[in-house]
């Protein structure tokens, strides 16, 4: 037996409730998205790639800023 409740103190009539239940997948409901997705444990190689790209990005941003300042002079 499913109990249907209207969220945010809204008035949602029975026809609309049925429409929602018949057309949307259970995890498509706005309330269902409040359920957290379990955290994934990152492997050593994945962490290494993420850190390498982070360092790459910071270095390249510094290069672009240098280029922008040099270009402005």
């Amino acid at each position: 037996m499913t109990t249907v409740t209207a969220g945010n103190h809204e008035r949602i009539d029975a026809a609309e409730q049925n429409l929602v239940l018949s057309t949307l997948e259970p995890d498509q409901l706005a309330e269902a998205k409040k359920q957290h997705v379990p955290r994934r444990r990152l492997k050593g190689a994945e962490l290494a790639v993420l850190w390498a790209l982070r360092v790459y990005l910071l270095f390249m941003i510094a290069v672009v800023v240098y280029q922008a300042v040099a270009g402005a002079r």
Binding site: N8, L29, Y56, L57
Partner: protein
């Protein structure tokens, strides 16, 4: 089965206004799918397209069109026409993954990164997106201001009019209506096709350029690398990943719709690539006539083109730049608002009434207003800002792609929709290509002598 699979019968279900709006849209999809006539298939396509076309035409934004215009004016068509087509092919590969992720998980991109990899990596990703989006938003207002400047509209009036239009589009509080209005405006991006025709191109040369691949004019140097990076940045950027996945979720696409989501993305890429190629062709007469296009904004491009393509052609060019900036203002602001809502666990949908989506709509309004006000600062080097922003977008792409790559290969999330090997091979090639292009640019700036020794100039 994936992490989100739930039993069909739930003990308690909470339904909101957002769900009802989405259910109405989905009911039409269900109805169209139940029929098997040709008309029903076309109707199904019409109902399911949207995020892909919008993201691709949205990325043909103000700075992108100015980059394509600068490309045609400085380098002609030889190398760049096939190159631009290649960059859109890369965009399709990348964006298709966001369709699958959105349809399989019904979660936005920011939300998945935060929850799956934790807040440490999540914040890094958000900072990249936030900075990139805000800088890009500034350049959209630069484009709008410059485009309307061609018609003598003062900067403050151009900025105010664009803000008013952005706010009006959001007042519908309905994803479907917003999507159709924005699609109608985005279709105006194809105005660059008649502009190209007005420039009386040598179609034989265009065919030749597309079929063969000529070397980079002037060889590999800092200037050509900057324009190459700007053209890549005009096609693949981090906001697109966040926007298309969140829009796919907001539209309510499911695993059954992925095929149409792919079609939507390919269709969008084809339209956007056509507009991009047309822009390069349109400004190529400036290259042929050796007219300097250094530091051109939209108005200057239109003015320089006027003797060659006429008043109508030049006006269409300027209007096209305005449209490009306007559509991207909408999509980029919304991509930021989706990401904020997902990370802050606040309601985030274009189906939300203002009362329930205060945080969501406030982010869109505030970001747009702030970016618009920056554009009014006198003496800002607008053209340089545009190029630099595109380059930053390319540099931020590899880290964003690796998160996407890891998510789309996560069997717990994706189950049977996990990426096939061939898609992973192409995605890896795209990451390597973008990273290498960024590194080459870095070397050309920091160590030009070493760059020359490597074969550049």
């Amino acid at each position: 089965m994936n992490l989100f699979s739930r039993p069909a019968v739930q003990p308690e279900v909470v339904i909101t206004h957002e769900d009802v709006d989405r259910a109405h849209d989905r009911a039409r999809v269900v109805e169209a799918r139940a029929r098997h006539s040709m008309f029903s298939r076309l109707r199904l396509l019409w109902l399911l397209v949207g995020p892909g076309i919008l993201v691709m035409l949205g990325e043909n934004d103000g700075p992108s069109m100015l980059s394509y215009a600068a490309t045609g004016a400085k380098f002609g068509i030889g190398f760049f026409l096939p190159f631009i087509v290649l960059t859109f092919a890369m965009a399709v590969v990348v964006q298709e993954m966001t369709v699958r992720l959105g349809a399989a998980t019904h979660r936005g991109h920011a939300e998945l990164i935060f929850e799956r990899f934790g807040p440490f990596w999540g914040w890094f990703s958000m900072i990249d997106l936030g900075i990139g989006n805000f800088l890009t938003l500034i350049t959209e207002f630069i484009a709008i201001r410059a485009g309307l400047g061609f018609f003598g509209v003062p900067a403050w009036a151009a900025v105010l009019a664009s803000l008013a239009l952005l706010y009006t589009a959001l007042m519908t509080h309905r994803y479907w209506t917003w999507e159709r209005i924005t699609l109608a405006v985005a279709a105006f991006n194809l105005v660059f096709i008649p502009v190209a025709i007005f420039s009386h191109p040598d179609w034989h040369s265009v065919r030749h350029a597309l079929a063969g691949w000529k070397p980079l004019p002037g060889g590999l140097n800092k200037d050509t690398l900057l324009i190459v990076l700007a053209d890549i940045g005009a096609t693949v950027t981090p906001w697109m990943l966040f926007f298309q996945q969140s829009a796919t979720v907001d539209k309510g696409l499911t695993k059954r719709d992925v095929r149409f989501g792919r079609l939507d993305t390919v269709l969008g890429a084809a339209l956007a690539a056509t507009a991009a190629v047309a822009t390069v062709i349109a400004t190529t007469p400036l290259f042929i006539h050796h007219m300097s296009a250094e530091n051109y904004q939209a108005a200057e491009f239109a003015q320089a083109l006027e003797p060659l393509i006429g008043r109508v052609g030049a006006s269409l060019f300027a209007l096209g730049i305005v449209e490009a900036g306007m559509v991207a203002c909408v999509t980029i602001s919304i991509s930021s608002a989706y990401a904020f809502g997902e990370v802050a666990s606040r309601p985030h949908s274009l189906n939300l009434p203002i009362g329930q989506g205060k945080a969501f709509y406030s982010i869109i309004f505030l970001l747009a207003a702030l970016a618009a006000s920056i554009v009014l600062i006198p003496g800002l080097p607008l053209v340089y800002v545009v190029l630099v922003v595109n380059v930053i977008a390319v540099l931020a792409m590899p880290p964003a792609l690796v998160f996407l790559f890891m998510l789309v290969n996560d069997k717990e999330l994706m189950a049977e929709m996990v990426s096939p090997r061939w898609a992973n091979a192409i995605a890896t090639a795209v990451v390597v290509f973008l990273t290498a292009a960024g590194v080459l640019f870095g070397i050309s700036v920091v160590a030009p002598n070493l760059f020359a020794a490597l074969g550049g100039k």
